[in-house]
């Protein structure tokens, strides 16, 4: 950001985020706010999203040893939790939770990056700029979801033995050692779709673009779209689930399933989860 731009838009940058009206179909560059909804009731934990993410985003395969040291690079991971009150057997199955960068509106990672390598984009994404990153890892330290992954090793030299490198997606940078990376909501797809839409004097249509995880998900547990557009499926879902992007404490009926994780920390995530349902009588 240039100083001129900062000063010109001082009131915009000084505002408490998120604020109502931040995203508006009539505001230039405010016409998109990408959001996600994950239905935990139909997520089967099959890991198709994880593999799709590896394929789309040039994630390195780190190998057993580095995985053991916690240096794995999966931008989306499936967490599996057992019930705390479980008896001898998990009689109600288990809980799966796909966890990716929540693209928080008031992102804890953004404020602490010394070089502004991670900052908010106009369409509500939490951008990560690999070429600006100096690797202080403060963002990861401050991320409550711990969804940021640091390149502890120089993966480009080891993770893609020839000809595996031919699979790399040319739209996504291959990250070298010493930089932080994380889920981008497949920004390369979003940019392409936005560009296409602008050329045709329109907005991106609902369902026109999906991140790799949402596109792969066999059960369709992951929904994605532009929440600014009131006609989009995602906006309707958020509204239906009584989750308000701009609120940190949701006042919702107890029959409604929508919630955001760790809302008490007030990061205002852009991912809404929908509660797992279990037939208590079964």
């Amino acid at each position: 950001m240039s100083i001129t731009n900062l000063l010109n838009n001082w009131s915009f940058y000084r505002n408490k985020r998120p604020y109502r009206g931040q995203y508006d179909l009539n505001r230039q560059y405010g016409e998109y706010k990408w959001a996600m909804a994950v239905d935990l009731d139909i997520c089967t934990g099959c890991n198709a999203c994880t593999t799709a993410c590896y394929a789309e985003n040039n994630l390195p395969v780190v190998g057993k040893h580095r995985f053991e040291h916690g240096q794995v690079m999966h931008w989306i991971r499936i967490e599996r939790y057992w019930d705390e009150k479980m008896g001898e057997f998990p009689e109600q199955g288990t809980s799966f939770l796909p966890m990716m960068c929540q693209q928080c509106e008031a992102a804890p990672c953004e404020t602490v990056c010394p070089v502004a390598a991670t900052s908010h984009t106009n369409d509500g994404l939490n951008s990560q700029n690999y070429h600006r990153c100096i690797g202080s890892r403060y963002c990861s330290a401050n991320c409550p979801f711990k969804v940021r992954y640091f390149n502890w090793w120089n993966y480009p030299s080891t993770a893609w033995p020839a000809p595996l490198e031919d699979q790399l997606n040319p739209d996504v940078t291959v990250r070298t050692k010493g930089v932080m990376e994380k889920c981008t909501f497949c920004v390369q797809r979003l940019s392409e779709a936005k560009s296409r839409a602008r050329t045709e004097y329109r907005l991106v249509r609902d369902g026109e673009v999906l991140p790799a995880c949402a596109q792969a998900c066999p059960t369709g547990a992951i929904s994605f779209g532009n929440i600014v557009d009131p006609e989009s499926k995602i906006a309707k879902m958020w509204k239906n689930q009584q989750v308000d992007l701009y609120k940190d404490m949701q006042e919702k009926d107890n029959t409604v399933r929508g919630y955001r994780i760790l809302e008490d920390l007030r990061p205002f995530p852009s991912v809404m989860y929908m509660e797992r349902v279990r037939d208590a009588e079964a």
């Binding site: 580095r66 991971r77 010394p114 690797g135 990861s140 711990k146 502890w152 050692k177 010493g178």
Partner: protein, 481 residues
Amino acid sequence: MINTFEEREVEVERRFVRKEKDIREDIAWAKINSDVLRSLERPRMLFWVIFLGSLALFMFGVSCEIYQYETGLGVANLDNPQVWGLYIATFIFWIGMSHSGTLLSAILHLMHADWRKPIYRFAEAMTTFSLMTAGLFVMVHLGRVWQFYYVVAYPNERWTWPNFQSPLVWDATAIFTYLTSSMIFLYIGMIPDLAICRDNATGFRKRFYTFLSLGWMGTDRQWANFRVTYLTVACFLIPLAVSVHSIVATDFAVSQQPGWHITSFPPYFVAGALYSGCAAIITLFIVLRYVFRFEEYMTMPILEKTAKLTFAISMVWTYLNLVEYSATWYGDDMYAKQALIYRATGDYAVFWWSMNFLGSVVPFTLAFKKLRNHIPTMLVVSILLNVGMWLERWMIVSPTFANGIYPWTMDHDQWPAWVQWGMVAGSFGWFNMLFMLFCKIFPSVSMYEVKEMVYHRSLHTKAHGEPSVNHELAAEGGTAS
């Protein structure tokens, strides 16, 4: 028999005010000069042992860094939640250590505490070098250290600026300011002494000290300007010192990690900083006293005073530490409470309890006069206190990552790899090496201020009829001061 008012005053002072004299008042000024200047020439053998040992440690640290630079930070065995490890812990440690130099040289200067005079010079040097060491850790821990200059705000062809919201930018600014200021302070305070060095040196050293002493002649005008400048920089340095460690504390306090998100962190960090710094001063005091044969200047009463100061600060630190625990315990932040319980009972319990023991219980040895005056005990205790303070910093950084907010990514198995330990050791080597070099090149006891001290002291005693010094002799010794 106390008969007169004067006699009573002398007795009161002997018994209660100055039980023992900080410094003998009959030291001739020439002797001061020659004693201190001798330290620039022939130290004891131990000097070389320490210097070479430190150099070796430093070289080991450097090779660790080269290895890490080439291979990636993975060699340090850091991982996703455990992103910082020993590097940041040791960084805070060294930043903290720097504070006591400022305490002694600036704060006590303003408070006219006379006893600081023989020891403030090396304390101020300690400030400078520990800041430089701390700066190294910032570099070492960066993933892409070659891009470090992105943190600096300067106009560039990318039209980008650092993020002024980030505590790390405050950090970088504050530390850099503090480092430059304390270097200036150190240097300014040294100018009269450099002139003495110049007058007694020959050859290239003469040129060296001539250059550094900036034509100091000891004129009244120079002295007047010197006093004003010195006082100004001292005044400037005090808020800076407090703010630097407060800012380091905000690195943690503004973040959301449980165990960090605590309001009392800034004073807690400042107290911890002064604490470890004072302990380090005691250690270096004992070492220098022996190595450079400074027994007459770095006297036992001064050591005792430093020890008392350390004890006082340790109690402040203990109080703030307990505040932190109780605020967490009685607060309703579930994450912080779990993190606290984890620290006390989890994988780091041994270190956590030893930290508390070393930081809060061991300083009670300083409450005993006998122990305060026993040099080996003081050496051991001061080192232990610093071990405790280093552990404190580690206990702030690591257990929190191991047991953070998010349960899935908690990581209890991480143990720093040898590369990290190597670099921690290397930092001690680097610090000691620089410090020893400094003491070898520059007068580590402030000559002119010791002279002032002796002079004041003798004026004082003369007024009260005690045996006095030969002032003519003293005046001859101080050539240019």
